[in-house]
Every structure is written in structure tokens, then in C-alpha cells.
């Protein structure tokens, strides 16, 4: 079981790490999609299959499409998708910040005595999740729905609305 986790961790960290260093934006994004699939695999490994499929549907199906669409829409210049490298100072500071956070979190995780219940995977059937969503968490569900609707409308207004060129939306 831990071998599976190690494989998933390797997939997630390797793809995210390489995506960090690639200059080609499209390749970066596609590697990040691989990371998302890895995270979905992690959910699946943890027994949360509903979340895993939601992750794939939302990230693999929708977010990745929107991101790639944005990349193509803002394509600039002949090479189009190659990003100009950031100044080295910022890269160093980014690595320092990332490393510091990673060290702090890892230390905290390692030092905290966590006694997990190492039982079999808890069962979370879809019906159970649905009942919880509509009873206990109905207010949060409504709020999430409202946020999504407003975000959708806002996205449409932002992307299609005004700007220097008065043209029809894409």
C-alpha cells in the first residue's frame, strides 16, 4: 500500500517539479494536468473515489481546457508560448521561500505525534455524501453554487466585456 503511495507521490512531485522549470507554457500546463491526475490517484488510493472523479472532471476536463484556451488566446509573438525567464534573484527567492515552507511543514509533520487509525478505508458511498450535502451542508452547497454562478457570470463579463477593441466575444 505504501509502495502505491510512493509511486503516486513520485508522479505528483516529479510532474509538478518539472512543470516549475519548463519554459514552454503549454508543456508546463500539460504537466500540471498530469499532477492533477496524480492527485486524483491519491484520492482514489485514500478511498475517496467520488472526490477523485470530481477532481478529474473539474481539473482534467474543465480547468485544463480553460487554461489552455487562455494560453492560446494570449499567444504573443512567433514562438507564442515560450515564457521569458524571470530574473535570477526572483528565482532564488522563490526557491528559498518554497524550501523554507517545505522545511517548516515537513518538520512540523515529522515532529507532531500523529496516531492514525490504521483501519481499512472508510466507506463513503455517493448516497451518503449526497445526503450529507443536502442536509447538514445544504447552506454550504447553496453558497458554493452561488459562488460558481457569480464566478461564471463574472468570467464571461471580464473576458467578453469591453476593452480597447469592441468586438464580439470569442
Amino acid at each position: 500500500m505504501n509502495a502505491v503511495l510512493a509511486a503516486i507521490a513520485l508522479l505528483i512531485l516529479a510532474s509538478a517539479g518539472i512543470a516549475l522549470t519548463l519554459r514552454n507554457i503549454v508543456r508546463s500546463v500539460i504537466l500540471l494536468v498530469v499532477t492533477w491526475f496524480g492527485i486524483a490517484a491519491f484520492y482514489l488510493w485514500a478511498g475517496a473515489e467520488f472526490v477523485a472523479f470530481a477532481q478529474v472532471l473539474v481539473y482534467g476536463g474543465a480547468v485544463s481546457m480553460v487554461v489552455l484556451f487562455a494560453v492560446l488566446l494570449v499567444r504573443h509573438g512567433k514562438a507564442g508560448v515560450a515564457e521569458t525567464p524571470a530574473p535570477s534573484g526572483r528565482i532564488v527567492s522563490a526557491l528559498l521561500a518554497g524550501g523554507a515552507i517545505a522545511g517548516a511543514l515537513a518538520g512540523a509533520v515529522a515532529l507532531t505525534p500523529l496516531a492514525p487509525a490504521a483501519g481499512p478505508a472508510p466507506f463513503a458511498p455517493v448516497r451518503h455524501i449526497g445526503v450529507l450535502l443536502l442536509n447538514t451542508h445544504a447552506a454550504s452547497l447553496l453558497a458554493a453554487g452561488a459562488i460558481l454562478t457569480v464566478a461564471l457570470l463574472g468570467g464571461v463579463v471580464l473576458a467578453a466585456g469591453g476593452g480597447p477593441e469592441k468586438e464580439d466575444g470569442p
Binding site: N24, V26, R27, I30, V33, F37, A40, E49, F50, F53, A54, V56, L57, G60, G61, A62, S64, M65, V66, L68, F69, L72, P125, V126, R127, P170
Partner: protein
């Protein structure tokens, strides 16, 4: 009739048990999984091969020509001839192409479309993976396939491919929503995301001869229609084959592919068609259920196969018949017609569910209201969609 199952029905189970008896207990899970995969690959691989032939033959019949008839008797060996040809062709990768993505795209496409086959119940005892949220899994696997189309279009460094990639993205974003919305009514009525439970919920007959399939209800019919239209778009079939519109973009995202990679794309297209057809059968057409009680002696997987083949023939027929839409018309059709219709369908199914307890006398009224809820928006929005279009009358010059 679980007590009197014919042996044909149980044949797959018997076969599996026979194999299992030969094996030590720890190996059984692995061998079973392997067998599942091998059988799925074998059956759908063959179906793919002969579907290409069937498509060409049916198109030929519709177009007054014989179709392929040289290889083998009546052309039955044509798929294998095609396969050998594809395998022996040179694999060309353009110098400016992104080699990794160029290679990964067809592989990812075939892999994703194959993944969908795991959760479709092919028969009463034929289901590779009985998953609690199987329908969600199916659409999660399907949603990733357009990513591969994008990779194919972008990596070729060809302007036609790039346009095709843009079209593929726009098409996916537009048609994912009606596809997902169209099956929500089924989930609402059967109360489950598990395909096998959905099929079981469609068992039995009204009055002894009308099957309780979802498609035979107002909301089910509307959902089925939306599902089929959206799945035509999802599998890039005519009239929604914009990413590879051959009269505009040469071959779209396939322009820079040759040899076996090209064949892989076709494989993925047919696999996707089979998977979506299979899911449509499962969700709306009663899955493996027989249409009449007295036909129950025919094994369930044969019914599933017959329904799937009928849908696939429908796909081919549509391809032979309809011209292609334009990209703006395609997205407008999705957003201004299919999505609102699917949302209205949710209301319809809500009404249907709440009015389930109405007594006998009100049953026709229930049907009438449900049909009106489906038909009126359909007609109204259809009118708006085709406003300004219509046959014209022409005048003639004065002599």
C-alpha cells in the same frame, strides 16, 4: 428470473470459474482483472475493425456505391488490410513539432477512451468494475480525451492543426455541460450513480409489454436526444466533426500524423463512439434488459450488443446525411439550445418524481404536463435558433 437463467446467460461466469479453478487463490484477482481487460480489448478491438468496414459499407450503400469489396469475400478482410497498411507506413514527425506531445497525444487518447469501457454493464453478469460512482468515472475518463485532441493539434506546429485545437477546446467546453446535464435526470430517478443499479432500475414492464426504459418517458426521451447530440459532438462525429473538418482544415489535428499514430486516432474515435453509445444504452435504453418479457431467453449481452449496434448505425447514418455546422453555430447550438433544454429537463424530471404518487386517474395529466414541459421549450427555443432561416421563393425576370 434468476432461478431459471439459460446457460448462455451464465456462460461468461462459467468460463471465469473454470479459469479460476485452475489457479491458486492469490493469483485469481490478477488473472480476473487481466481477463477482463483482455476480453474488453479483444471484443472492442474487433468491433472497431469491423465498424470501420461497416461504416464504409453503409456509407457506400447510402451513396450509391459498393464500398470496399476487394479484400476477402465482400471486403471482410479490409480492416486487416488497412491495419497492415497503417503499420507499414512511414511515421513522419515534422521537424518543428513538439516530439513528446506529438507522440503522447494518440496514446493518451486511446488510453482515455479505453478507460471508459470498465464501468459499462454489458450483461447481467458482465461488468468489469462495479463502481459506486461509475457514471462519474465514465465522464471523468471521457472529459480528458479532448485534452489529447488539443495536444495533437498543438504539437504538430501546423496552422490547420492549431485552428483545430482551438475548435476542439471550444467544442469540449460547450458540449461537456449538456452531456453531463442530460444524464442527471436518470441519476435523480434511479437514485444512484452506479451503472448496474441504473440498469436494474429500468427492469420490468408496464402492462406487461412496454419496457420501463428511461427513453420511454418524456424526460428520458429529451435526455436521450440531448445525450446523443452531445455525444456526437464529444466524439467529433459529423455534423460536429469540426476539429478534423476535411473540407476546411485538411484533417485538422490529424494533419501532421501518419502511419500507426493516425490509425490510433481512428481507433480512439471509434472506441469513444462505442463507449458513449454503450453509456447511452445503459442510461436510457434499459442496458441489457430485453424489450419484451417473452424475449428474455436471449442472453442479456446480446440485447446490449444489438442496442449498441443500432446506435452505432445511427451515428453512421447521421454522418452520411448531414452537412457540418460552423464553429459559432456549434457553440450557439450548445449554449442557447441544448443547455437550457437540459436544465428544463431537470425541472421536468423533478415534477415527474414528485408526481409519482398521483393516482391512476391523473396519470394522463401527469404525462401531458411532462410532455408539455419538454416540448414547449424545445419548439420555442428551436424557433429562436433558426430565426431568419427558411426556404425562399424566387422571382423571375420579366420577359
Amino acid at each position: 428470473m434468476p432461478h431459471a437463467e439459460p446457460w448462455l446467460e451464465r456462460a461468461p461466469l462459467l468460463l471465469r470459474d473454470a479459469v479460476n479453478a485452475l489457479l491458486p487463490a492469490p493469483a485469481r484477482w490478477w488473472v480476473d482483472s487481466f481477463l477482463d481487460i483482455a476480453v474488453l480489448l479483444g471484443v472492442f478491438g474487433l468491433l472497431f475493425a469491423f465498424l470501420t468496414l461497416a461504416e464504409r459499407k453503409v456509407l457506400g450503400r447510402i451513396q450509391n456505391r459498393p464500398g470496399p469489396n476487394r479484400a476477402g469475400w465482400g471486403g471482410v478482410l479490409q480492416p486487416f488490410a488497412d491495419g497492415i497498411k497503417m503499420l507499414t507506413k512511414e511515421d513522419i514527425v515534422p521537424r518543428l513539432a513538439d516530439p513528446i506531445l506529438h507522440f503522447a497525444a494518440p496514446v493518451a487518447l486511446v488510453a482515455f477512451s479505453l478507460m471508459s469501457f470498465a464501468v459499462i454493464p454489458y450483461g447481467r453478469h458482465l461488468l468489469a468494475l462495479d463502481m459506486d460512482s461509475g457514471v462519474l468515472y465514465f465522464f471523468a475518463a471521457g472529459a480528458s480525451s479532448e485534452l489529447a485532441v488539443f495536444m495533437a493539434g498543438w504539437s504538430g506546429r501546423n496552422k490547420y492543426s492549431l485552428l483545430a485545437a482551438m475548435r476542439a477546446l471550444a467544442q469540449l467546453i460547450s458540449y461537456e455541460l449538456p452531456l453531463l446535464l442530460s444524464f442527471v435526470p436518470v441519476v435523480m430517478i434511479s437514485g444512484s450513480l452506479s451503472p448496474s443499479a441504473i440498469v436494474t432500475a429500468q427492469g420490468g414492464w408496464h402492462l406487461g409489454f412496454i419496457p420501463r426504459w428511461n427513453v420511454l418517458t418524456p424526460w428520458g426521451f429529451a435526455g436521450f436526444a440531448i445525450f446523443m447530440v452531445a455525444s456526437l459532438a464529444e466524439s467529433n462525429r459529423s455534423p460536429f466533426d469540426l476539429p478534423e473538418a476535411e473540407s476546411e482544415l485538411i484533417a485538422g489535428h490529424l494533419t501532421e500524423y501518419s502511419g500507426f499514430k493516425y490509425a490510433l486516432f481512428f481507433m480512439a474515435e471509434y472506441f469513444g463512439m462505442c463507449a458513449l453509445g454503450g453509456m447511452a444504452v445503459t442510461l436510457f435504453l434499459g442496458g441489457w434488459q430485453a424489450p419484451c418479457a417473452f424475449l428474455g431467453f436471449i442472453p442479456s449481452y446480446a440485447w446490449f450488443g444489438a442496442k449498441l449496434l443500432a446506435l452505432l448505425l445511427g451515428f453512421i447514418w447521421i454522418r452520411a446525411t448531414l452537412p457540418r455546422l460552423r464553429i459559432d453555430q456549434l457553440t450557439r447550438f450548445a449554449w442557447k439550445f441544448l443547455v437550457p433544454l437540459a436544465l428544463v429537463n431537470l425541472v421536468t424530471v423533478g415534477f415527474w418524481h414528485l408526481s409519482a404518487s398521483w393516482s391512476r386517474g391523473f396519470d394522463p395529466l401527469r404525462w401531458a404536463i411532462a410532455i408539455a414541459l419538454v416540448v414547449i421549450p424545445f419548439v420555442a427555443m428551436g424557433r429562436r435558433l433558426s430565426a431568419g432561416l427558411g426556404p425562399r421563393t424566387y422571382r423571375f425576370a420579366a420577359q
